[in-house]
């Protein structure tokens, strides 16, 4: 079960870099998904 002690499990610096990695991951996934749609449905113009 989650407890309040888990809330800030990581120190500030680790949270900063975890957040940064998450941003990179989300934006990369978004760009790749957009590119996938482009090549599958738009590329044959």
């Amino acid at each position: 079960m989650a407890t309040w002690a888990m809330v800030l499990l990581f120190p500030p610096l680790a949270r900063f870099f975890l957040g940064f990695l998450l941003i990179v991951g989300i934006v990369t996934a978004e760009a790749l998904f957009a590119f996938f749609i482009y090549t599958k449905y738009y590329g044959k113009e």
């Binding site: 500030p12 949270r15 957040g19 941003i23 934006v27 957009a34």
Partner: protein, 447 residues
Amino acid sequence: MPVGNLDIPGIGREVVMGVIWQSHMYAAAFIAGILVIASASEYVGVLTKQPKYDRFAKGGATALILIFATGSFIPIFGVLALITLFPVFWSHLQNIFFWVLFAEAWAFVGQIVLIYAWYASWEKLAFRKKLHVVLGFMAAMLVTLQFTLINVVASYMLTPSVGAAATDVAATYMNPTFVPLNMHRFVGNISFAGFVVAGFAGVRYLRSTREEDREFFDWMGHWALVWGFGFLLLQPIIGFGYMKSIREQNTAAFDYIMLGDKSWLFNLLAIELAIMGVASVAYCLHKIRFAAKPTPALRNMTVGALWLMGLFSLLNVIPANMDLVPQIGWVFFDGERTNIPLGSMYPWKYIGLIGLMLVGVFALALYLKATAGGFHWGRASRWSQYALIVTAVTVLATMITMGYTRETARRGAEPGYLINGCITLEQKIVAAGCPEAPEKSIERGTF
């Protein structure tokens, strides 16, 4: 009831917010910038009757709708996360900015209608091109309006309108840093989209095998860089105006990000500016070799500009003291008390920033003069394309640096605020009549 006291295990809700909104910012800023660039390009195509501008604009519109469609889930998820994780703060903000957010929602509806109509009618309106151009410009204006409205909210959080009631729509709208932030982001979006497209063109050029594609992507990299670099050159002076208004209205935030523990952010920005400036001028210098009319004088002057750009950029990069990044232990010698020669803001950073702008404008003007005579497209070297890719990667880093800086600035005044002087990071309201809080809470001694 745990209202206002929910959190995310492991990383905490503040990181979750940072991740969501920074990710959203990439899509939003790109959409805002590319709409301006692509719609203007389409119009240039109409004026010059050169089909490459239309191909560029159509490509921009395709990228725009793809990013719009795939990126839209992030802000929706973000609003859900705000309601769940910051209910007290968000309900206050929703109350203060009801009309602004209401208008934002309608601007969003209009934007969806216009950008998809603009994209979908490309062939249908091929013989009514001016009408189509108007559609594009209207979409660009609407997305600018949408950005303006969200800038009202963002700037208010850092510098609430002192002395105005929360219900005073005009006063909260025209909060102290709204206008400079809006200018800064409008210009920044265009520069951001320009550099990203230039980097994309660089990658496509390097992968192209057909001569026709090589010519087009070579030109596309040039055209996008002119937008990216041209608008970047406006940023130091607009950014200075923005910082000045933060200093006047929220001194604690200014001290925190310019002089205190987070001043490394501006050293990082100086490094990013240096990379973008030097890479852009190096690209221009390289391209001038392929001018249709030989221009040795322009080339020699651009060589000088490249050296000066490097010199001024170096001046900007020098930190003020040895307290570099205290968060990771980069404090050397006596830290803050060990000053570095040429590192102070006055006069060195002023000289560096003004010099960077003037040299950049000079180099860009030389480049545009060379461009006027025409270029041999499709012959650019790999290194010039690497320069474009470097600017694209660096501008991605710059956007995240600036976004983080604005949001972390509210930690400057103890104990850290969501709305400065009004609602703390823990969602405690420090004084009744929130927008008047800074003065009233100073009187009460609770600030």
